[in-house]
Symmetry: C2
Subunit: 337 residues, 2 copies
């Protein structure tokens, strides 16, 4: 399947990469090397690589800034976009260490290459740089933007703490699971879709509308991610099929099934409680149980509902900006990046 | 030996603890529990404890704010003091994980109690809170203060990266080692002794003078720490005697001895290169070699020189503030906290 990327993503990559590069260039050589590898800019040996993710969050920040009229200064929007991307990558670096994940974006994770301490320091450094980059910009609203980003980081941490906690629990409710999805994913998306406007001095109701748009979009985004974790194409996700089940992750469709009161849900609970690793056949059975419990359908519908809710909260603004945000929202849910 | 604590330390503990408590109260329950344990406020079971370190950095921040005339608002100084203490504790939590240290302030380290992921998240949370606390204060200079603190965090990370790097190297120079001591310790002390003034709108030359005062004091502080790591009283340091040698740390006196060109330095190099763990007798021999190479004396003299240099850079200001800073400086070098 060939997918045409929305132009906002390409623009964002081009605008934000120089800011990210110059932020990372301020680090000590050891920490810099880890960050450059993690971002996909360099190979393990330090050779240049094309690298990088799809710049979804930076694109959201730039479009968010364009929702303000008159639009704020471009360099201020870029600083906010870089700051959000730095926080996102801080959380990826640290989560990979905590979760023991060995592969990201089809490459070995940083900690498997440079060791855990170096990957942790690289994450720490990106978090510190995020504040610096934002406050170094000339926006008179940078302080409010930095406060929003720090508060969001706290929510991200709560989400990861809940995720770790869920590993040891068999009684996770759907509400707890949706809260975790909000904290781990939707909170930073909401920050991305509103911080550009905040940093450009938008009225409070515009910032608020954009924040709610991002929250709903973020939930839809996470629900698609959960479905892909069960039935996704490894070529697209970079993860082996059924990997979430293999790790017995308490994702939304799984937790929905476990709490469905159906026979399929009970069978899934038995499989998740089994002390031995699940066999290939059992993994396929577990996925089948999520289907039969009606949880794949429910998750899919909930995802569509959230996407529609996002659209309803999008504040009015310059048409090209709001249309691009809507297009991007539909795109990321259709084909998760 | 009974030591009377300078009053500035007691005042700082009392002023800053409420701000630290309300910052930590914003965290999710799991992360909050780890932080409350780490700060010594609660036992593993959550029972209240008297806890806490000696509030050296907060005291420096508060005195730094008092160097400004007219003095800035007290709540702004307290916010800056809390922010510095949060960054300090972020680095302690993460360093303990990376270094595998099992004991701090006579208690098991947080990661040994709650696991590595929880301790990492707690450190992440404290770093995010530091920015939030500072920017939530009403100071018109909070943004500059937050920028200074983030830049300092980057230097701390460089110091820890160097420290980790030194573990695998046999050719560390004295300059590299002093730079590491600057980055790991002196940089945050310099931030502590200047950020209060910065946040209160002090003229640049006052902030600069206080920063240099803190840098020199921080170096003296680290050199005393290195000497205590070799010959210190475990009752005071909370670490077993000769622990730095046992871990073959490349501290300043050790690296000075290794590069001294003396027979004692060569013998120390042999011991450090030995594949087997050092025996008790060899540990005592290694300490003896540091002495014989003249490196204990050199470190001691360097420490006194740095302390004197600190005093020379202290800007003029309200007498009670500068006298208290001088007293505190002498105290921490005399008996490291």
């Amino acid at each position: 399947m060939t997918t045409v990327l929305p132009p906002a993503l390409l623009t964002a990559r081009e605008s934000v990469d120089p800011a990210l590069h110059s932020a990372v260039a301020q680090l000590d050589p050891d920490t810099r090397r880890v960050c450059e590898y993690h971002f996909g800019w360099r190979s393990v040996d330090g050779a240049p690589e094309g690298g990088g993710g799809k710049a979804l969050r930076p694109a959201m920040v730039l479009l968010s800034a364009q929702c303000v009229r008159p639009p704020g200064a471009a360099d201020q929007a870029v600083a906010a976009a870089a700051a959000v991307e730095l926080v996102h990558n801080f959380s990826l670096l640290h989560d990979d260490v905590m979760d023991g994940d060995t592969s990201r974006r089809h490459r070995p994770t940083a900690w498997t290459v440079f060791g855990r301490p170096a990957a942790l320091l690289a994450g720490d450094a990106l978090l510190a740089l995020a504040t610096e980059v934002l406050l170094d910009s000339s926006s008179p609203h940078a302080s409010a933007a930095a406060r929003s980003l720090s508060a969001t980081t706290r929510v991200l941490i709560a989400g990861q703490a809940a995720d770790l906690d869920f590993e040891h629990r068999h009684d996770v409710t759907l509400d707890e699971c949706l809260r975790m999805a909000h904290d781990k994913t939707a909170a930073l998306l909401a920050c991305a879709t509103s911080i550009g406007a905040l940093n450009a001095g938008a009225p409070q109701e515009v910032v608020f509308g954009l924040h709610t748009f991002g929250t709903e979009l973020g939930m839809a985004f996470q629900l698609v991610d959960d479905l892909l974790g069960l039935w996704g194409d490894p070529e697209i996700t970079g993860k082996p099929v059924l990997s979430d089940l293999r790790a017995r992750k308490k994702t939304v469709p799984v937790v929905h099934a476990l709490n469905s009161g159906t026979a399929a849900g009970e069978r899934l609970r038995e499989l998740y409680a089994q002390p031995e690793p699940l066999t290939e056949q059992q993994l396929h059975e577990a996925a089948e149980m999520v289907q039969r419990a009606g949880s794949a359908n429910w998750t899919h519908r909930e995802c569509q509902r959230r996407l529609a809710a996002a659209g309803e909260h999008l504040p009015s603004g310059p048409r090209d900006a709001t249309e691009a945000l809507t297009e991007l929202a539909a795109f990321v849910v259709r084909r998760k990046l």
